[in-house]
Amino acid sequence: MEKTPEQINQDLLRPLYHASWRFYLTLVILGSLVAAAFFAWGYQIYNGIGVSGLDRPVFWAFYITDFVFWIGISHAGTLISAILRVSNATWRRPVTRCAEAITVFALSIGAMFPLVHLGRPWLFFWLIPYPSERGIWPQFRSPLLWDFFAINTYLIGSVTFLLLPSFPDFALIRDRASGWRKKVYGIASLGWRGTPKQWHRLEMAMRIMAVAIIPVAVSVHTIVSWDFAMAPVPGWHSTIFGPYFVAGAIFSGIAALIIAMALLRKLLHLEEYLQPIHFENLGKLLLVMSLLWFYFVFAERLTTWYGNFPSEMAVFWVTQSGRFSKLFWTMVFCNFIIPAPILAIKNLRAKIGWTVVASIPIVVGMWLERFLIIVPALSHKYLPYTYGTYKPTWVEITITVGTFAGMGLLFLLFSRVFPIISIWELKLGGQKKPEAAPALASQEVAAEQP
């Protein structure tokens, strides 16, 4: 049944006004986990990075894994919603804001890790290229510096991408609210009025952004992969890493998006707005990425095995049958063997529950993948005399867990101040068209069907 604009407004703005005790409970739980993580970090800064399990030769481990993982998750949003915008897939409308929010948060979390993992974090600003009294500019050859530029560009881009379509919604809230909300949202809406000109410019800007953000997103994760590919470490120094990481990123991103949407759907009672069709379509994307991921892994493994370069084989065997084999095969299960069939069967894919079942192991598996790229390679470099191993301590574990909690926390708060679904875009979907212009009707119908 068709909902009036008024009903839509009410439904989607409810979360901003009403919160159950469950909400506050979750808030407290997640909050304390985040606090624990920050304590752990403080403890590490005070006592030195040595309180983590890092050692020689495994100079990088959990923190960089988390870094790559969260940057990967960040590809959920902007990239996906941008692609969907460009391809004008109208079913995207209820999904985009959620996705873009994931991007912004995941990115901010991921961007913290280069700091967390520094030996002397209080000097992190030496990475920033500015004319310092030390008369030293950073080494622009270093992939870490490329990271600095790429991540900042991406962060600015995706924040813009999240905010632009929010102005009209802020205006909406402004008009309906009273008291402090009126003020705050009034300011946030930048005095949006909704003249045809504004609408037109906004849509134009969004189209440009969508086009611009895709190459940025791709470059970001490519550069993250180059942090590894640029170092002559067995198993790292490979040209496949760029696309491999990008694919992996989108893969984990979509999975995260599905989970987040399912949660919101339940918590905020958005059943009418986030419909199975959205999950099914995302599920299709997820299936494609899962297959793509498997293809990349196979290609990478096969070339290593065939090349049979001694030092690379050491890494190869230690992941296939050696110390890390359990993790490796778990990863394969999580990323391919479990999700692929579920998503391939239409009846399952069509059910929200099943898409979530397929997504959760993927998030785990993709974290494992990053870990397995980093640690086995570092612990088995060229000279066998220098082989080492790695065991995390409570510090790394706490901080890692904390980031997941942080993600939840940020999202929870976000859903309290933002309409989690872009209201005006949703309404756009509900518009009935003049007989004059049946142009885009087809997709609209597609979006309509329950």
Binding site: L118, P138, M230, V233
Partner: protein, 235 residues
């Protein structure tokens, strides 16, 4: 004349006595990390004697190979450092500037020889062990990467002395601590730019090779392979 400091290590002479290791600790204020940290793989030895077994009992062979920093001419550790802490000095040494290091440990990953060592915790010296510190070498603190320097403090001292006396450096006028202590004279140090120096003569030997040549790092440390007894010489 511009110097290019290099080293030749003769695996046929090295007996694995580890004098070089102890000498290096004494010269360069390298911290001893203690058993717990050592167990976690954080022991710091700027030079190590690698031991490799070949064959099985009773036909066992062992190869010793002292590995200091290879001082690569094309060093993977240099371009990856975002703060120029790991850099190439005019005499071709891979210097590590401790004050610039912020501890990304990227150089440690990039180094194929793993000769870079990281201060995971603040180093500890029970008094009065600290009285032994070599005043010419700075003491590293937590979060800093450190490595073999070819005893750059000795190089500089000798060069300054030579300058003051307005004369070129004499060969063998100084040596890194490891070379000086080596009881079998397995290690030779000198200027590779001087074709007559012992080090460049030896580096042209028919037994000479470098560590992991396939990586194209062009180390300035040359290894002389283990020789065999009946290689025609005794015929």
């Amino acid at each position: 004349m511009e110097h290019r400091w290099g080293m030749v290590i003769d695996e046929d002479r090295c007996t694995g006595c580890e004098a070089c290791v102890a000498a290096c600790h004494a010269e360069n204020n390298i911290a001893t990390v203690g058993d717990d940290q050592a167990a976690r793989g954080r022991a710091m030895h700027w030079i190590r004697v690698e031991r490799y077994y070949e064959g099985n009992f009773p036909d066992v062979k062992v190869k010793f190979r002292p590995v200091p920093c290879q001082e690569c001419s094309d060093a993977p550790c240099e371009p990856v450092c975002p703060t120029y802490a790991s850099y190439h000095n005019p005499e071709g040494l891979n210097a590590q500037i401790y004050n610039r290091c912020i501890g990304t440990r990227y150089c440690g990953n990039a180094c194929p020889y793993l000769v870079r060592f990281f201060n995971f915790l603040n180093p500890v010296w029970d008094k009065p062990l600290n009285l032994q510190f070599n005043p010419d070498v700075s003491v590293r603190s937590v979060g800093i990467m450190e490595k073999c320097t070819f005893c750059i403090q000795r190089i500089k001292t000798a060069e300054i002395k030579a300058q003051a006396e307005k004369r070129p450096l004499k060969e063998g006028e100084f040596n890194p601590a490891c070379v000086q202590s080596c009881p079998t004279e397995a290690m030779v140090f000198g200027d590779l730019n001087d074709p007559k120096s012992k080090v460049s003569r030896l580096s042209r030997s028919d037994r000479s090779t470098t560590l992991l040549p396939e990586l194209g790092t062009h180390p300035k440390v040359t290894y002389l392979k283990r020789d065999t007894w009946d290689n025609g010489k005794n015929a």
